[in-house]
């Protein structure tokens, strides 16, 4: 009888262990690398042809309507910010760890994006004026309805460029931080589009 009970207990423990392991595996989330993917789309919904087939030249008062598509695959809702900067050919670019803090910021936008979803963020801009300053062309612009005059010039108005930086809100730091939290460290993410003020 005692042997029978012992066998029962050992078998019950073994089977329970096996089935509980299966249950644990079934309930565990599959490992996945968190990331945020994004791109800037032209008015024709493409990742090219930003200036409607006229090269990189943008004439004054021409309104360009682009938008960002930001996909959150971080595993939880994110508070995402996009910082817009205007630079020229000599501006220091952002990189994987640091934003282009020396390049003037001309605007920003933020959005809450649930995990697995894509947000569309509009970016509408135009050149209002082209002014000469020290042999360089300096622009007066309207960005998302706000008038800005960034202190950046380019010779003959050629080779201006937008930097778009992805920032995410870090609750521990209680502020937006450049990039997003990757496995082990933050991952900086940025885009740029060149244009000429013609």
């Amino acid at each position: 009888m005692r042997r029978r009970i012992l066998t029962f207990v050992v078998l019950l423990a073994s089977f329970s262990l096996i089935y509980s392991s299966v249950a644990y595996y079934a309930l565990s989330k599959a490992p996945a690398q968190p990331f945020i993917a994004w791109g800037v789309f032209s008015s024709s919904e493409t990742l090219s042809n930003y200036f409607s087939g006229v090269g990189m030249n943008v004439t004054a008062h021409k309104v360009l309507t682009w938008h960002f598509e930001v996909t959150n695959q971080m595993g939880s809702i994110q508070y995402v910010g996009i910082v817009y900067r205007l630079g020229n050919s000599t501006s220091k670019t952002p990189n994987a760890t640091a934003p282009a803090s020396d390049t003037p910021q001309i605007g920003n936008a933020s959005r809450f994006i649930p995990s697995g979803q894509t947000a569309s963020i509009n970016f509408t801009w135009s050149i209002n004026s082209e002014n000469q300053a020290g042999g360089l062309v300096v622009l007066g612009m309207t960005v998302n309805g706000q008038q800005v005059s960034p202190p950046v010039g380019a010779a003959k108005g050629l080779k201006f460029r937008f930097f778009f930086e992805l920032w995410t809100y870090d609750l521990a730091a209680n502020s937006f931080l450049y990039g997003y939290e990757g496995p082990g460290s933050r991952i900086g993410n940025w885009l740029q589009i060149w244009f000429n003020a013609a």
Partner: protein, 160 residues
């Protein structure tokens, strides 16, 4: 020794008093837009926690929509601030109210999600234990099952 303790306590008291004074001053200087901004972040924190606790995608999506609306009110409040302080205050207040409502909803969603997760885990592990018990009984009583099957076969043979 006692004097030292008293002195330490005194320093601690002065530090705490000065800190609370600074906090009071800071909150007194906060504009409605600052308060709305802080409330949005607080709401985001609660919504993210609800998400991590296993809230459904639909619930999180709805909470995110509310947060985005609160954010757009806050943006309007910022834009109006230099020209129309009353209008700015109204938008800041709308943002604040919406963030507060979203926080309350998120807390409820998080609580329901935690309960749901706990119940489903409990269910799955109970099933695992029950299957374990069933398997054990099957192994132990296998000889009886075999003899039962044999009996049925014999009965069929006799009938034929």
């Amino acid at each position: 020794m006692r004097f030292r303790h008293l002195a330490l306590l005194g320093i601690l008291f002065i530090l705490l008093s000065s800190l609370s004074g600074t906090t009071d001053k800071a909150s007194a200087q906060s504009t409605p837009v600052d308060i709305a901004q802080n409330k949005i972040v607080q709401a985001f924190q609660i919504v993210q926690q609800a998400d991590l606790d296993g809230a459904s995608a639909a619930a999180v999506s709805q909470l995110a929509s509310s947060l985005n609306l609160a954010l757009s009110f806050e943006q309007s409040a910022i834009e109006l601030l230099p020209t129309n302080k009353t209008g700015s205050g109204i938008y800041a207040s709308l943002s604040l109210n919406l963030s507060t409502t979203t926080s309350v909803e998120a807390l409820s969603v998080a609580s329901a999600a935690r309960t749901q997760t706990l119940l489903s885990r409990l269910g799955v592990y109970s099933l695992a234990l029950a299957t374990g018990l069933g398997s054990t009984l099957l192994v132990i009583e296998l000889h009886r099952v075999k003899s039962f099957v044999r009996k049925i076969r014999l009965r069929r043979l006799r009938l034929e």
